[in-house]
Amino acid sequence: MITISSEKNEYQPGEEIRGVVKWNGFESDRLEIRLIWFTEGKGTSDSHIFATRSVEKASPNGEAGFSFAAPHRPYSFSGKLISLTWTIEVLFYPGKNTERHDLVVAPTGAEVLLHGVGSAGNKLAK
């Protein structure tokens, strides 16, 4: 099992994103904790790795802390055609076991909603 927890889920650009990854029962040579963004909606998904922290020779049970500066752009946003989500992603090698923990990065700490998108789209900020 893999769990990712962060001090909070909404961040302003430049703020420190801190948290802990805990796992048990994973035989792994190495794990990576990444801060990435990805898009969802119409068309092919796009993604970008913003920062990575590697943990070498991870034991089957353990935990690792992470700390990243919240990026200045792009903001978390949702429109009718595309949503952009920031997330902490953990990958275990080999085997590609992964886990994700979604965050909001935006000046107000709430996902930016583009014209015409109602407040129900702001589920990450809740």
Partner: protein, 194 residues
């Protein structure tokens, strides 16, 4: 339940690509283990046949994952529309022709010589998507149908009757191209209050 009235963001659109992809490929017959076994018997040299929007790309992407999980070295190439890029892609396939199973999505975009070279020189495995029968035997013939459309709508948890009816109309209009049907329905859910 997903209905157009509750949609607020692209990620919540029931026809968002990540949701459609999560439905997975539906074989005309058999399941993944039996079809993988058949592909192995074919020496991993086969075609995935089907018209536009019938699921060929979905199948080849899932196949890549399954083969890699089973320990195979795989090179997946989505053949570019750009001639210069196709040249690079062809070289990449040929340079690893004896070591990898090449999964070539859209081999018909390569010219005759490139196709010929790939067919002759790739020896470890070659699975390609085609719109018409080619020189390799057919592994899966992807075909769409109203029952398949309904099954996918059910997987996407679409219960709104007007949306289901619209899907049926679009299926005829798009001549069975389910990818286009779902793109149209994405727009319907994103733009129209319904």
């Amino acid at each position: 339940m997903n209905s157009p009235q509750t949609i607020r963001a692209a990620r919540d659109n029931p026809f968002a690509v990540h949701r459609v992809e999560a439905c997975g490929f539906r074989f005309p017959s058999g399941d993944w283990p039996s079809n993988l076994e058949r592909l192995e018997e074919m020496g991993y040299r086969a075609t995935i046949l089907g018209s536009h929007g019938a699921g060929k790309t979905s199948l080849i992407l899932e196949l890549q994952e399954r083969l890699e999980t089973n320990g195979h070295s795989v090179l997946h190439v989505f053949v570019s529309r750009n001639a210069a890029e196709r040249l690079v892609q062809c070289e990449a396939i040929l340079s690893r022709s004896t070591k990898i199973i090449a999964l070539v999505d859209g081999i018909e975009r390569f010219n005759w010589w490139q196709r010929r070279n790939i067919l002759r020189r790739v020896s470890a495995g070659l699975v390609v998507t085609v719109h018409r029968k080619w020189e390799l035997p057919t592994w899966v013939h992807c075909q769409t149908s109203i029952p398949l459309l309904e099954e996918l709508l059910q997987s996407l948890e679409i219960s709104e009757q007007r949306l289901i009816q619209k899907a049926h109309k679009l299926f005829k209009l798009r001549k069975g191209n389910i990818r286009e049907v779902f793109r149209d329905l994405f727009d319907t859910c994103a733009i129209n209050p319904f």
